[in-house]
Point group: C2
Chain length 408, copies 2
């Protein structure tokens, strides 16, 4: 690389010189347009990416870091019709595309190899803590406050070994491990319980909710339930059902006052079928499909009638709750023997690679898209479902613990 | 204003000179940080806003339009610690704050005067169609395609006059009118039907779904139902119930193949109580509350048992549906005599002022926040609830009809 006058040490100088390669950068540009434009607003990130991609060497990287402030006008650049400069962006555009491919599984459920790579990756943290564009709407009044060293607690109930007619769910152990790691990296304290009876599920959560209320320092509470289920119920390892609502109610504003106005997130991996004959039939067919199991109870289990929820009106008992289900009401959820459940695995993939850049509802659209790609050998499919009463946006803000940035 | 040399004709020159006023711009800055930074990426918008606020005159506005390209580096500006320049932004910051105050009702439900002002405002259109930051993620594969001259059809069922024991819902006429205007401005064709029986509701929607399928040109279908309701049912004006699911099913991928993979949005203003004795009691109390009525049936109506939905697995029958309810399952929805229902009115307020800048799920967080602010004379409150199976982001893109922008 020949020495150039100092005023030309911008990323683009290098890029233009390096863009002689013939590659489909226009397609990559079209696909990643928004990401690229956002990235260009942050020269350090562009330089960093080019460095990672070995397009920049150490010295070039440092030079750009120092010099770029003067000549970098990304928005102007993208609005101009200077084709030479635009073409010069090709390597950056392709680097973005490459990064994007890595974080998007090629198939769903993913292959064991792809899963391994993902599991070894850390949660992507927010790096640029100065620009409001990069830390989203941090500290704004219409965004839940998520900034403490520890954001709150995650309660995982992982029912694997059932005492009775229900099939065991060994693949759920992977989910429990991956979710524990994920939420610890997202700055939560994780409490995991395996193999609880229906009664123990309720008492565990109610005790913990009381404890949380006493401590009075959580910004958020997260509840993860993985078990068999039917309709509005989930099952203990004693094969007895418990209403999901009676579990989430432990964290209602009425029962846990310190959580009032704070976000409570619930993730449920369980079947939601109503039709018992249908469940049995499909359940039998499952023996020909070793890879994807169903989270439902066999038809022998007695299902009690739903109780009507009572109409009470304290100050918003249902507000600030988000419940994400593995599957829509009336349908079945799926579990893959090698990589865990479609839904929980999609959460790990999505939150790990995108929690630094997307709001929770948008993360869950991604989860939904992934789950929707899955298909059993019998071509059975499903999608995830989100029920939200949140009144503010929710960002995990991985890596951020400071107060609102004060730019002036 | 003294004449200055041409090179100084940037917005900031004027702003610095005009910022002698003493005002709480720091608070306004903190509150509107993200909006301000985004705005600064678009000098024309800044100039436009200052012009609207009468801080700029005609000539100044034109000058800025021509000259600003050269000296405008918003991101650099906000990352610098140049306090003089930062302070100079005060009038812009306050103009943003003022605009924001106007689009945020001071109370909920809003006063009749505030409502009038809102109703006279048009839907805010996207102006800058060149910058990807301003048209969001338009044309990206993870965003639903919404770009035709006509996006699709909106079907409004507005049940007002009931033949039987149910109370009439005259305030719903306002909602129907406001929603018709809103969605026409959002480039939809609106079909409104008043006072349908339970049977007519079903046949109207199924006929229209068939027609839509035949035309095969809709990018999206929207269904709005306003009536009395209980649990999972809504009522015809003959006071007979119909399962909401049997109405939305008309637009399932199975029944309307041309909508497969396309977004189907459902907005429901109706009570969702189960407890009949509770409904009656509250219903009687309503006579002391002339302003907020309840969308529920009196207890005399026979409620049939729910049928279990069948478990079938065509290709994603539930995917790409979003259902937004006025209130959570098991609770009551509210209707204001002077300004319409809390929920539908919140939709009109929110979509009108924010559809140009926010994704649907985020618009509905705003709706939820507004509805949650409402309180009857008896301090009864509720929140809206969203159930989403969408697999992509949904933007209305008001004002945009072109293809994906090709910048180079």
């Amino acid at each position: 690389m020949p020495k150039m006058p100092a005023t030309f040490y911008t990323p683009f100088t290098y890029i233009v010189k390096l863009s002689k390669m013939s590659c489909d950068w226009k397609t990559a540009y079209k696909k990643n347009r928004v990401k690229i434009v956002k990235g260009l607003a942050n020269p350090d990130e562009v330089a960093g990416l080019l460095f990672q991609s070995e397009i920049f060497n150490d010295e070039m990287h440092e030079t750009v870091k120092v010099k770029n402030e003067k000549d970098f006008r990304p928005f102007k650049l993208l609005d101009t019709s200077n084709k030479e400069l635009a073409k010069g962006l090709a390597p950056y555009v392709l680097a973005v595309e490459e990064g994007d491919n890595k974080t998007e599984p090629k198939e769903w459920p993913p292959s064991v190899d792809q899963e391994k790579v993902m599991l070894n990756d850390p949660v992507i943290k927010i790096k640029d803590t100065k620009s409001p564009l990069f830390i989203h709407e941090y500290g704004q009044e219409y965004v839940y406050t998520i900034q403490s060293e520890r954001r709150g607690k995650v309660f995982i109930i992982n029912n694997v070994n059932f005492k009775g007619p229900m099939q065991d769910r060994p693949a759920s152990i992977m989910d429990a491990e991956n979710l524990t790691k994920l939420f610890e990296e997202l700055h939560f304290t994780v409490l995991r319980k395996d193999d609880l009876t229906s009664q123990d599920m309720k008492s565990f959560l109610c005790e913990e909710a009381k404890q949380l209320d006493k401590e009075n320092c959580a910004e958020c509470a997260i509840l993860i339930i993985m078990s068999h289920g039917s309709g509005t119920k989930v099952y203990g390892v004693d094969c007895l059902p418990v209403e999901l609502k009676s579990l989430t109610d432990c964290f209602s504003s009425e029962n846990c006052k310190s959580l009032h106005g704070k976000p409570r997130l619930v993730f449920v991996q369980a079947c939601r079928s109503y039709d018992k004959s249908d469940v049995t039939e499909k359940f039998k067919q499952m023996t020909t499909e070793p890879h994807d199991e169903m989270d439902a109870e066999p038809s022998k289990i007695e299902v009690k009638e739903n109780k009507s929820p009572k109409c009470t009106f304290p100050d918003h008992p249902s507000a600030d709750f988000l419940i994400a289900y593995a599957t829509p009401e009336g349908t079945k959820a799926w579990l893959h023997n090698d990589v865990g459940s479609w839904f929980m695995n999609a959460i790990v993939w999505t939150f790990k690679y995108h929690a630094h850049e997307e709001e929770l509802h948008h993360l869950l659209i991604r989860v939904n898209r992934l789950v929707g790609k899955g298909s059993t050998l019998k071509k059975e499919m499903t999608v995830a479902e989100v029920k939200s009463n949140l009144r503010k946006k929710f960002f995990f803000f991985p890596g951020i613990h400071s107060k609102i940035p004060t730019l002036f």
